[in-house]
């Protein structure tokens, strides 16, 4: 039965190519996923925006102007309005007296309000298309009383080709 049977190793078998294909595909997938092109800095930009607004408003020279309704935040804090019209940025500012819920100024909201929803639900269901937000509280002085300014800033700025 085993006469004239010769075990022979093929020079190149199909399995060699299958294994190389798997290795190559795995390498390509890893490189594409770790590619620094996809670095997401929206959270950092949201953080910077919150800091810019908070530090600007709590400057003692500006706080009093801020509490009065006649206050141009974009001009005083060197922020460009265009990015908010393009749905790339968002902020929401609430002001109250420290130690109480007394509201000192009506809420200031600028940009797409959907950012609040996206940032709120991403705890359970995140998506790369959701905006990234940051919430910070700043302390200021108004009429010799401490106030708390809560800033929620968001960025959905992904950049792109020209």
């Amino acid at each position: 039965m085993f006469n004239n049977k010769k075990a022979d190793e093929p020079i190149l078998s199909i399995w060699n190519f299958v294994i190389w294909g798997i290795i190559g595909l795995g390498l390509v997938i890893v490189i594409i996923n770790l590619n620094p092109i996809n670095t997401d800095i929206r959270k950092i930009q949201a953080d910077l925006l919150a800091d810019r607004i908070g530090n600007c408003i709590t400057d003692y020279k500006i706080t009093e102007k801020f509490i009065s309704d006649d206050f141009n935040l974009f001009k005083e804090c060197n922020i460009d309005k265009k990015g908010f019209d393009n749905n790339k940025f968002y902020f929401n500012i609430t002001t109250r007296k420290a130690g109480s819920n007394e509201v000192l100024r009506k809420e200031i909201v600028f940009g797409n309000p959907d950012f609040e929803i996206m940032c709120g639900i991403k705890r359970n269901a995140d998506s790369p298309n959701f905006a990234k937000c940051n919430i910070k509280e700043f302390f200021g002085i108004y009429n010799n009383e401490q106030i708390i300014i809560k800033v929620m800033a968001g960025s959905n700025n992904a950049g792109g080709g020209v």
Binding site: E9, I11, L12, N16, W20, I23, G24, L27, V28, I31, N35, P36, I37, T39, I41, I44, Q45, L48, L49, R52, F74, K75, N78, I79, D80, K81, K82, G83, N86, K88, F89, N157, G159, G160, G161, V162
Partner: protein
């Protein structure tokens, strides 16, 4: 003797199998290493990196600030594409645009309302190339 004569053919065949397998493996892994090396140094990676970096620098700065950024790793593009640094970094309509070849480049928005000027200089001691970002308060027109 008879045994050795019979084994000779099989030994040659085994050697041939080994050599061919080695050659094909070397070709395959050389190709993979080349792909890995190329994918880490394409112009688009640097365009993304520097556009985002400059936008963050502008947003993190106060007016009347100058920031100098070492861009020595872009020297490889200045030589082969004969680029002028003034055409590489462009500030336009609150966007940082970085162009390293004949493609349109990559742009990234920043939220600050500043006048931004870009220039460059070479360190006289180290010969490193730097891009200078001058940030000024926007003049009301």
């Amino acid at each position: 003797m008879k045994l050795i004569i019979n084994k000779k053919g099989e030994g040659t065949k085994m050697l041939l199998v080994l050599i061919i397998t080695l050659i094909v493996n070397v070709i395959f892994f050389t190709g993979m290493f080349y792909f890995v090396e190329r994918s880490g140094s394409t112009p688009s990676i640097y365009e993304h990196f520097y556009a985002k970096k400059l936008a963050l620098i502008i947003d993190n700065s106060n007016p009347d600030t100058i920031v100098s950024l070492n861009i020595n790793d872009l020297n490889q593009f200045f030589g082969e594409n004969k680029l002028n640094i003034n055409n590489v970094f462009i500030i336009q309509n609150n966007k940082v645009i970085v162009k390293l070849n004949n493609n349109p480049g990559y742009s990234f928005d920043y939220f600050s309302d500043y006048d931004v000027e870009i220039s460059s200089h070479k360190d006289p001691e180290t010969q490193d190339l730097f891009v200078d970002i001058l940030i000024k308060e926007r003049k009301n027109v």
